[in-house]
């Protein structure tokens, strides 16, 4: 299972990285989401994989490590906040720059006024 899980983490991250390197804001944001999926799964796995062992007292004899779960929870919330923000920012940038390229312009163009 660990190998398959690690593969999933790797694939998610790789997909995230590829999309993050695109030139338009929307794929980049999707890439960030995938990247954070990958990283969250990675962080989650730092507590090792446990089946049917929720960290609820009385539910399981040998509960899994609850701490990474708490960390991932925090990370999920934070990345949600960030995603919401960056989406709005991308929208604003696209409206103001009349273009949804991450650089807002042709990268060759001189940026100074």
């Amino acid at each position: 299972m660990e190998a398959l899980y690690a593969t999933a983490v790797g694939v998610l991250t790789a997909c995230g990285i590829y999309l993050v390197l695109r030139g338009r804001t929307f794929p980049v944001i999707m890439g960030l989401t995938l990247l954070s999926h990958g990283v969250n799964l990675f962080l989650f796995a730092s507590g090792r994989l446990a089946l049917a062992a929720p960290a609820v007292i009385g539910e399981s004899a040998d509960p899994t490590d609850p701490l990474p779960q708490a960390l991932v929870l925090t990370a999920i919330v934070i990345s949600f906040a960030m995603t919401a923000f960056v989406v709005v920012l991308a929208l604003r940038a696209a409206v103001e720059l009349r273009n949804d390229h991450v650089d807002g312009v042709d990268p060759e163009e001189d940026w100074r006024p």
Partner: protein, 506 residues
């Protein structure tokens, strides 16, 4: 129980929350609250500083949970230095903002307070995941502040800044996952102990984690090749925001000197750490790039942004030497450069406000109304920034040069540092002569510089002189900071011996 350590975090949080709760509050009331809280915050950190001076280091266990299980705040000399620096920079920046910049968008004051909360939290926490959380707090606040006031340049620079920092955050989490997966703990002191006792088989992974952290902190601290987001972001931000951002790059640096010596080099020399070895060449390259950037800048804002890069390059290079003396010199320089570059961001804005459409671009315009006062101020500021006597820049430069010589690193470091200073001199003299000496024959601009804004700039630029005059105690202090940092064992002991009982159900 002494609750002082947590108050520098709570005060801005509560202030910010209050300002969000009362969205209809008038601007003046907001200013009053925000300024009051910032002044009180300065008082708080000074008070905390006096406590730390007394005790050396405090350990505050949040929720009463003993480390390593709960989160601890560990204000020590370094924290205090950073806290006081932040508060000192924040106050003039805020006052400056209160002259109208805060009205350019919504919720400036709340965001400013949240920014302070994030910074203070990052400087206080002794838990590495909590450090991540405070990084995020200060980052999201900085995103919002960067975009404060709107406009295309800000949108574009902000988008880049945000995306890059989001990737940085992902990397941070990655490193945290590695650290927790290998050590099973998050408290920095406990991490240090566990890493020092980790089996050999785990070493490559731990090293890799430290290197990922180097990238994370390097992005924040503006280390080449991770710094390209900085010039435009700092150039685009509203002046008081940019001024406050002068301390933002220092957060990355703070994290480096907090985490690496403590967590990864508890029992071995810092220089043996791969991440630390990388720091030296990258920092030198940063320094070189910064110097060239200063020379190539076309606006004063942009130039100041590159001076920030020069300062981070300098700081990291000198820190990379790893000696106590070098670290002490770096910290002294850090204080100097943060206040001065912060002041110069404000100054650039002050000038831009006088010059109409030309702004702070280095083009010739009609004479400014206040050009004498501003010119004199610019002269002293430039002298201080370029590291010429009698200002603190000179003192810190002399110190850093000596410290690097003692480490046998003068051969590369000296030419770069002195060269960067030289380039700054060239660029600043050119800028100064364009702004204050050369005028187009048009009618003079008749707007006077706002007195309060001017005073803010004077205070920050004057810090160059004040730091020079008060150099002796500050140098003693940074020495003691460096000594404390170089003895991570004490930190670990303090954190472990924290005499705490478990609270909870009674």
């Amino acid at each position: 129980m002494n609750h002082l350590p947590v108050l520098p975090i709570l005060l801005p949080l509560i202030t910010g929350a209050l300002l969000v709760t009362l969205p209809r509050l008038g601007l003046n009331a907001q200013r009053f609250i925000s300024l009051g809280a910032t002044v009180a915050g300065l008082g708080l950190v000074l008070w905390l500083g006096s406590m730390v001076l007394e005790h050396g280091r405090m350990v505050y266990a949040l929720g009463g949970w003993a480390p390593p299980f709960g989160i601890v705040l560990v204000p020590d000399r370094l924290s205090v230095l950073m806290l006081v620096l932040t508060a000192t920079l924040a106050l003039p920046a805020l006052i400056y903002a209160c002259r109208g910049d805060d009205d350019a968008g919504a919720h400036f004051h709340a965001l400013f307070q949240f920014q302070l909360m994030g910074l203070n939290g990052a400087f206080l926490t002794g838990d590495i995941f909590n450090l991540f959380v405070f990084f995020e707090v200060l980052l999201i606040a900085s995103y919002a502040l960067l975009l404060h006031g709107g406009g295309t340049a800000r949108s574009r620079a902000g988008l880049h800044y945000v995306i890059i920092n989001l990737i940085g955050s992902a990397l941070f989490l990655l490193a945290l996952g590695m650290l927790y997966g290998l050590t099973g703990t998050l408290n920095m002191a406990d991490l240090a102990v566990r890493i020092s006792q980790a089996p050999q088989a785990g070493q490559p992974l731990l090293q890799a984690a430290s290197l990922v952290l180097l990238v994370v902190f390097g992005v924040k601290a503006a280390l080449l090749p991770l710094l390209f987001w900085l010039p435009r972001a700092y150039t685009a931000a509203a002046a008081p925001v940019a001024a406050l951002f002068a301390v933002m790059t220092k957060v990355g640096l703070y994290a480096m000197i907090r985490v690496f010596p403590l967590v990864f080099a508890l029992d071995e020399p810092l220089a043996a750490l791969t991440a630390w070895q990388w720091l030296w060449p990258l920092a030198l390259a940063t320094l070189a790039l910064g110097g060239i950037g200063v020379l190539g800048a076309t606006s004063l804002r942009n130039m100041t942004a590159y001076m920030v890069i020069v300062s981070t390059g300098t700081l990291m290079a000198i820190i990379a030497l790893g000696s106590t003396e070098a670290l002490a010199a770096a910290l002294f320089y850090l204080v100097h450069t943060t206040l001065l570059t912060g002041g110069f961001f404000l100054f650039a804005d002050l000038i831009a406000r006088q010059r109409g459409a030309a702004g702070d671009y280095m083009v010739v315009t009609a004479a400014m109304k206040d050009r004498r006062t501003l010119g004199i101020l610019f002269f002293f500021g430039a002298v201080a920034l370029a590291g010429l006597p009698p200002f603190s820049g000179f003192v810190s430069k002399a110190w850093m040069l000596q410290a690097s010589l003692a480490e046998g690193a003068a051969g590369i470091f000296w030419p770069l540092l002195l060269g960067a200073g030289f380039l700054m001199l060239v660029a600043l003299s050119r800028a100064g002569s364009k702004f204050f000496w050369r005028q187009s024959p048009e009618r003079d601009h008749d707007m006077r510089a706002d007195r309060v804004r001017l005073a803010c700039v004077i205070v920050l630029v004057g810090a160059g002189l004040a730091l020079s005059l008060a150099a002796a105690p500050l140098m003693d202090y940074t020495r003691s900071v460096a000594a404390q940092l170089m003895a991570p064992g004490d930190y670990v002991r303090a954190a472990q011996e924290a005499d705490l009982r478990l609270t909870g159900g009674h």
